[in-house]
Symmetry: C2
Subunit: 490 residues, 2 copies
C-alpha cells in the first residue's frame, strides 16, 4: 500500500533528525513533557476513525484496540510526568574542595540524550509498541528525535498515528525532524536505518530472527550502537507440589485463560508449564483440557503470524514423545489460531532444543518432571526469559530455595501465584530479561525506567553555574532529586 521509503529519503530524514537533535535535546523537561502530553491528546482526538483503521488492518477486536490506545495515552502521560520529575537524570554533584591536595574541582553529572533513535513498530501492539508507543515515548522523554519504521501489517494505522504526532510537533513548536515516519517492508530499509551514521540507538519488539539481525548490524557498524530488541520468551510456569495439592483445578482454569488471551499473541504468553508427574498434575491436566475445549478460535494478527503459528506448533507436535494433549474444539476460520496444549517429559525436553523455542500463539507445552530435583535440573536448559512464574504455597517457597535462585537468574520478572500476561505500566515493572528474551538485560521497555535506554552520563567539570544545564545549577531551579556530596537531596 505504501511504497518503501527510498534510501535517499532515509538519508535526508536522518540528516533532519540530527539537526533536530541539537534543538530538541535542549528543550526543558517541562517542554518535553508538554509535547508528549500533546501527542496523547491528538491520539485521543483521532477518535473512532483511528480505531476503525486499526480494526481493518489488524484483526484485533474493537475493545482490545480501545484499551490499547488508552494504555498508549497513559504511557505518554505517565512517562511525561516521569520525564519532568527527572529522577532518570541521575543528577550527581560533588562540590569543589579547593584546599584538598591536589584541589578537588566542582564536578556535576547528569544523563544526556544519545541522539536519533530508530523504532521498529511491533506487529502485536499497533498502538502501545508502535508509532507512538513505549519506545517512542521514552526516547522523546530522553531528548532524542525518533524515526519510526511502520510495521507493514498496520501501515495505515501507523500513518494515522504519525499524523497525530506531527500535529503535536507543530502545535508544540517542536523542531522539524523530531519525529519522522518511514515505510518499508524490505530488508534494505531496516538495514539502512540501523546502519545510518546518525542513528544512535534502536528499539524493536518482535521475532528473534528480526531482533538478532538488527543487533548484528548495529554491532558490526564502525561505531556500534545499542539495540533494545525484545524478542522471544516462553515464560515458564513452575507448578509446585503444595500449591498443586491445594488448587490444581483452579490453576488450570486460570492458565487456560492466560494461554488463549489475545490469541496467545503476547510476549508474556505462558508457553511452558512445568509440573511434577503425580495425581495433582492429572487433575490439573484434566481441568486444563476441559477449560481449553470450549475456547473459541481467534483471528491472528496477520497471515504471516498465523502461518508461523501453524508451522511451529506442527514442528513441536512432530517431535518424538510429544503428545497433543488438549485442543480447543472450535472450527477455525481463515487465519484463526486454535488453542493447543502439548505435553512431554522433562527428559525429552532437556534433550531436544527445538522444544525450547517460542511458538507465538495460543500454545503451551506442559513438561512432566519426575520430581523436584529434575525440575531444578531442567532450569539449566532454559534460556533467558521475560518472565517466570511460581504457583506455590509459602511452604513450597521455603522448601525450594535452590529452584528460586536458579529461576531468578533466568528472568526479568518473577511472579508468584499469578499469570505472566498483563504487563502493568509502572516504575517497578521490568519488561526485559536475559538473552534471548532481549538483547540487553540491563534495560526494560515498560515503565519510565525505559527512558534510561536512550541516555548516557556527561560530567561537567568546573563549569560556571549559569552555563550548566538547569538541572545541575546550584539553585536547582527544576526542583529535582540530586545526589549532592553522596547524599540524596531535593
Amino acid at each position: 500500500m505504501f511504497p518503501d521509503t527510498t534510501i535517499e529519503q532515509i538519508d535526508l530524514s536522518m540528516a533532519k533528525a540530527w539537526k533536530a537533535f541539537q534543538l530538541y535535546s535542549k528543550k526543558s523537561l517541562k517542554e518535553r513533557a508538554a509535547f508528549m502530553k500533546a501527542i496523547a491528546v491528538e491520539l485521543e482526538a483521532a477518535g473512532d476513525e483511528l480505531i476503525k483503521i486499526a480494526m481493518e488492518e489488524t484483526n484485533l477486536p474493537e475493545a482490545r484496540l480501545r484499551n490499547e490506545r488508552a494504555r498508549t495515552i497513559f504511557q505518554l502521560n505517565s512517562y511525561a510526568d516521569a520525564c519532568e520529575r527527572g529522577d532518570w537524570l541521575e543528577a550527581r554533584i560533588d562540590e569543589a574542595i579547593p584546599d584538598k591536595n591536589p584541589p578537588k574541582p566542582d564536578i556535576r553529572k547528569m544523563m544526556v540524550p544519545l541522539g536519533p533513535v530508530v523504532v521498529f513498530g511491533a506487529a502485536n501492539f499497533p498502538f502501545a509498541y508502535s508509532t507512538a508507543g513505549g519506545d517512542t515515548a521514552t526516547a522523546l522523554a530522553a531528548g532524542c528525535p525518533v524515526i519510526v519504521k511502520a510495521h507493514p501489517a498496520h501501515a495505515r494505522t501507523s500513518e494515522r498515528v504519525a499524523q497525530a504526532i506531527l500535529k503535536a510537533v507543530t502545535d508544540s513548536y517542536m523542531p522539524d525532524g523530531v519525529f519522522t515516519h518511514i515505510h518499508g517492508a524490505s530488508f534494505e530499509t531496516g538495514k539502512a536505518l540501523v546502519e545510518h551514521k546518525y542513528t544512535k540507538a534502536v528499539g524493536f519488539t518482535g521475532s528473534f530472527t528480526g531482533g538478532k539481525q538488527l543487533f548484528d548490524w548495529a554491532q558490526q557498524r564502525k561505531e556500534p550502537i545499542p539495540v533494545f530488541a525484545e524478542m522471544s520468551s516462553v515464560n515458564p510456569v513452575f507448578l509446585l507440589p503444595g500449591k498443586m495439592k491445594a488448587a490444581a483445578s483452579e490453576i488450570a482454569k486460570q492458565y487456560a485463560a492466560s494461554i488463549s488471551l489475545g490469541v496467545g499473541q503476547f510476549c508474556t504468553n505462558p508457553g511452558l508449564i512445568i509440573g511434577i508427574d503425580n495425581d495433582d498434575l492429572k487433575v490439573f491436566l484434566d481441568s486444563l483440557a476441559e477449560a481449553v475445549k470450549p475456547l473459541a478460535a481467534g483471528t491472528m494478527l496477520h497471515t504471516g503470524i498465523f502461518k508461523n503459528y501453524v508451522e511451529k506448533r506442527a514442528n513441536v507436535l512432530a517431535q518424538a514423545d510429544v503428545e497433543s494433549f488438549a485442543v480447543a474444539e472450535a472450527s477455525p476460520q481463515l487465519n484463526q489460531g486454535v488453542t493447543t496444549i502439548a505435553i512431554t517429559t522433562a527428559d525429552n525436553f532437556m534433550g531436544n532444543p527445538l522444544l525450547h523455542q517460542e511458538v507465538f500463539g495460543p500454545f503451551s507445552l506442559v513438561i512432566k518432571c519426575r520430581d523436584l530435583s529434575e525440575m531444578l535440573e531442567l532450569t539449566e536448559y532454559l534460556e533467558g526469559q521475560l518472565t517466570a512464574t511460581f504457583m506455590a504455597t509459602e511452604e513450597d517457597l521455603k522448601n525450594n530455595e535452590a529452584l528460586i535462585d536458579a529461576v531468578k537468574m533466568l528472568c526479568g520478572r518473577f511472579i508468584i501465584n499469578g499469570v505472566p500476561t498483563g504487563v502493568e505500566v509502572c516504575l517497578s515493572m521490568q519488561h526485559g530479561g536475559p538473552f534471548p528474551a532481549t538483547t540487553d538485560s540491563r534495560f526494560g521497555s515498560v515503565g519510565a525506567d525505559a527512558i534510561k535506554r536512550f541516555v548516557r552520563p556527561l560530567s561537567f567539570q568546573n563549569w560556571p553555574d549559569e552555563f550548566l544545564p538547569a538541572e545541575l545549577q546550584r539553585a536547582n531551579p527544576s526542583g529535582i532529586w540530586r545526589t549532592v556530596n553522596d547524599e540524596l537531596r531535593k
Copy 2:
C-alpha cells in the same frame, strides 16, 4: 614468568566462579562492603614489598605507585560505602491496588548481579585498574564473582595483589571462586575467557585494538554479553580567543605539565590542542616550546608501549604538513619517552584520519584553525572522547554555544579551564564516553556508578514479604532510598 593458564584450568575456574555466584550474590550489602574493606586492608598490609615488586616490573616511580595504591584502597572503601548505601539498586515499589480493574498486583524491582565478570588488568594502572582495581571493586559490590587476567607486564604485582584478595576471601568467609586470578599472554586466553558460557560481562582498559577485539568476540557469542572497554581518546582541548588573549602563556605552562605527566601514559592525556591561528597562539606556542624543552625523558611502562609510542609519533610526524614543533631536549635512556609537540592546520587534520588516532605517550598535536567557524567545523571530524576541555572566559562561552553543543556530543567529561589529566574518584565523575573512547557510552569506570555496569533489573510480582530480598521488604530493614508509588523515600 608465569605460564599461561590452560583452557582446562579456565574451564574449572569459571565453573567455580559460577557456583560462587549463587552464594556470593546472596550476601548482604553489609557483608559485601566488609569484604571489600578487608581487601583494602590487605592491600595496605602488603606494604613496601608490594611497592618494590611493582617498581621492578613497571618502571613507575615509587611515589606514583604509593599514590596509586592509596587511590586503589580509597576506591575499595568508597565503593564499599556506596554498595551499602544501596542507591545503585534503584529499588522501586508499586503497591497493589486490588480494587483497580483489572487488579494491580504488588510489584517491586531492584538491580541484581549479572554473574561472573572477567577483568583484564590495565598496563598503565597496575593497582587502580588491575587486579584489585575499579572494575574488580565495582563487580564485587554488584554481587558478581571476578576473574582477573593479569596484565603480563606486571604479572608478579598482580599475583601479589591476588594473594591479598584471596586472604580477604578466606578471612571474610566468602565463597571459594568469588575471586580467581589467571595468567595469559596469549590471544587464546583472552578469547577463552570472553567466550566462556559462564562469563556474563567483561571489563577492560587498554588499546583500541585489544578492546575492540574483546567486544567483537563478546557480541558474536551465542549469548552476547556486555563489554566495558575503555580504549582510546585524544582528549581535545579548545583554546578560545578571549581566554588566550588573557593567559596564553599560563595555559601553555599548565599544558606542558599535563602532556608530560606520567610520561603521557594516562587515558585522559591531552593529545589534541585546537587554537585560532593568531598572535596569542604564537605566544602560547613559544611558551609551550620553552616549557617542554627542559622536561626530563621518562621511562615508559614497558618496551611494547615505548616502541608503540616511537612508531606512532613517527607516523604522525611523517604526514604532509605536520611539523615537529617542540621536543624536550633530554637525552633519552632505554625505553624513555620524550615529550613532543607537533603542529598542523585544521584543513590538514580534517583531511587525514591518521592524525585523529591516539599517540599513547607524552605527545600532543596542536591544530591551527583559521577562525572559530573552522574550529566548529573541525568537531565533525572528531570521534568519541573521554574528555574535552575548553580554555575559555565567560564571554567565550556566551559567544560559542554551537561549539559547546557540538563538543558535548563527543565526550563523557567536559572541563572548563582545567586539564583532563587527574580523574577524581567520586560519584559525579564520568570516566567513559562515546565510541571509540569506550564500547558503551552509557556507563563509566570511575566512581560508584560504575557498579551499574554489572547489574540488571529484576521485578518481583506478588511476592510474600518475607521471601523478598531485604532491600524490597515492607519494613526496609536495609534503610536504603526507594521509590515507592513514584516517590523517593527512605
